[in-house]
Amino acid sequence: MGGTEGKVSGKVIVDGSSTVEPISKNVEEKIRGKYPELQVLVNKSGTGGGFTKFAAKEIEIATASRPIEQEEIDKGKTGGVEFIELPIAYDGLSVVVPKENTFATSLTLDELKKIWSPDSKLASWKDVRAGFPDVALKLYGPDTQSGTFDYFTEAINGKKGASRKDYEQSADDEVLVRGVSGDKGGLGYFGYAYYEAHKDKLNVVAIDSGKGAIAPSAETIGDGTYSPLSRPLFLYVRKDVADRPDVKTLVEFFLSDEGQASVKDEGYVPLTADEIKLVRERFTKGVTGSMFGGKPAVGVKLKDLLGKLEGAK
């Protein structure tokens, strides 16, 4: 760990994904005690909102639940902002129903698409699959600034942002938890951590992508069998501030064992020992550019990308 313990001071703003926010908050709480002069402000403007502020140099670290897009990379370039992309965790985007829903234990990708596609007018569970009861379908999901929204629509509907509009939107996943758990016909989606924290109110739906229904768990997310909804979570650090002692200390803390413990605490899946070593190298060497080439991460294996340290620009 870098920095003389206790002596680092400064202010770092971490903004972006509401999925990553629990990890950021957990890390912030831990770091409070170690470095009292280091002020970390956490916000959740959404993955999209975070990137906008990042490109405008308003924040030092942007968190994201999907890779940065070409459009966002370009916007940063015009402002002279370069970034270091650091995956810090795996998440299994979870589809949830309330505890009292005992019939929807699994759904196929086609069924999910039927429910969520832009022109879908499905109003009852019985239309989703024959044999389901006639309960009104009440949908909950993130708003359009959310990386989770981007990732889900890309994975399920094939196009980022393509979604039916008549659902209860919130940038606040807690609101979605409350909504789904209180509604008999509720169906929603968000990061695994929010399901983990509320297992008493929610049932998670196993996803069948053709190879049998797989439910998200630490194992299935970590080895990628929970697909296509397994995804990496990211920190994006501005290259021009990466050497500042306060930023450096915070990022190294995120990537440390304690930081990875925070990932686990919050219900996400930490990277493997090899993977985290590669990510730490990425930061120390200050490798810029995105490994995903400005494109979505659905179906891409992180391990292979990390191996190529240079990454695309």
Binding site: E21, P22, S24, K25, N26, E28, E29, R32, Q39, V40, L41, V42, N43, K44, D172, E174, V175, V177, R178, S181, A197, H198, K201, E266
Partner: protein
Amino acid sequence: MSTLNPLHTTPKTLSNLARRRAVEKAFAFVCLAATCLGLLLLVVLLWGVFQDGIHWVNANFLTNFGSRTATRAGIKAGLYGTIWVIGFTGLLAIPIGIAAAIYLEEMAPKNRLTEFLQTNIANLAGVPSIVYGLLGLAVFVHFLKFGQSVLSGALTMSLLILPTVILTTQEALRAVPSSLREASYGLGATQWQTIRHQVVPAAFSGIITGIILSLSRAIGETAPLITIGAFSSISRVPERLQSEFTVLPILIFNWTTDTKEGFKNVAAATIIVLLGVLLAMNSLAIYLRYRRRTL
């Protein structure tokens, strides 16, 4: 005239009378019930909040910052933030408001311009607080580049409560009998001397009441400050006007939406603290007002 029936009551009027009396009793009951219903509902709801939160209010609660764990969460950031923001709001709004009220009530000629000023202030008092929030966002945060700071928050809240301060001060000044002013003029005092040494001191408790009521409105306001920019997690108390901040109502809002175990109790506990402060302030205002009436 029959002495047995001096009021000429026929059977019809007697039964009519009985009916009217019954209606009267029923109506009185309905009115009383209506008055009590509202009060009762609120007592029930407040009792619910009290039960949810009272066991969570302790010294740690007041001195801790927020946390991912409900039992460790505290309101220090919000407490200090509220004090900073409302403190500066008062510093700005009170002098300007009182001066404006003095102008309108004591100095202004009775012409169209004054009428326009008066109407404008009354209208501003009715503008929803969220509009002030947007105003603050566009003007203070972005245009003047004060950012998401205590300064932006205080400026926005000052604009919000200024109409109320002006109107309540005017009311207090108006209540001062004109005989007082006339006596002062009669002794050769100038207008300002009269205002400064006679009218304002006489209206003092009314003015203070108005200030307390305006500030307690500001303390409870959430929407404009959320719009200005509240961080979802802040673990510092403000150190300068440019510092980021959060306030108690925003903490309540965040924790109410948090469905994790225990956070609804934390929200309730924060509500208890906030209501406690407001109760103290409003009780003071009401006491001052009713004391003045009986003097």
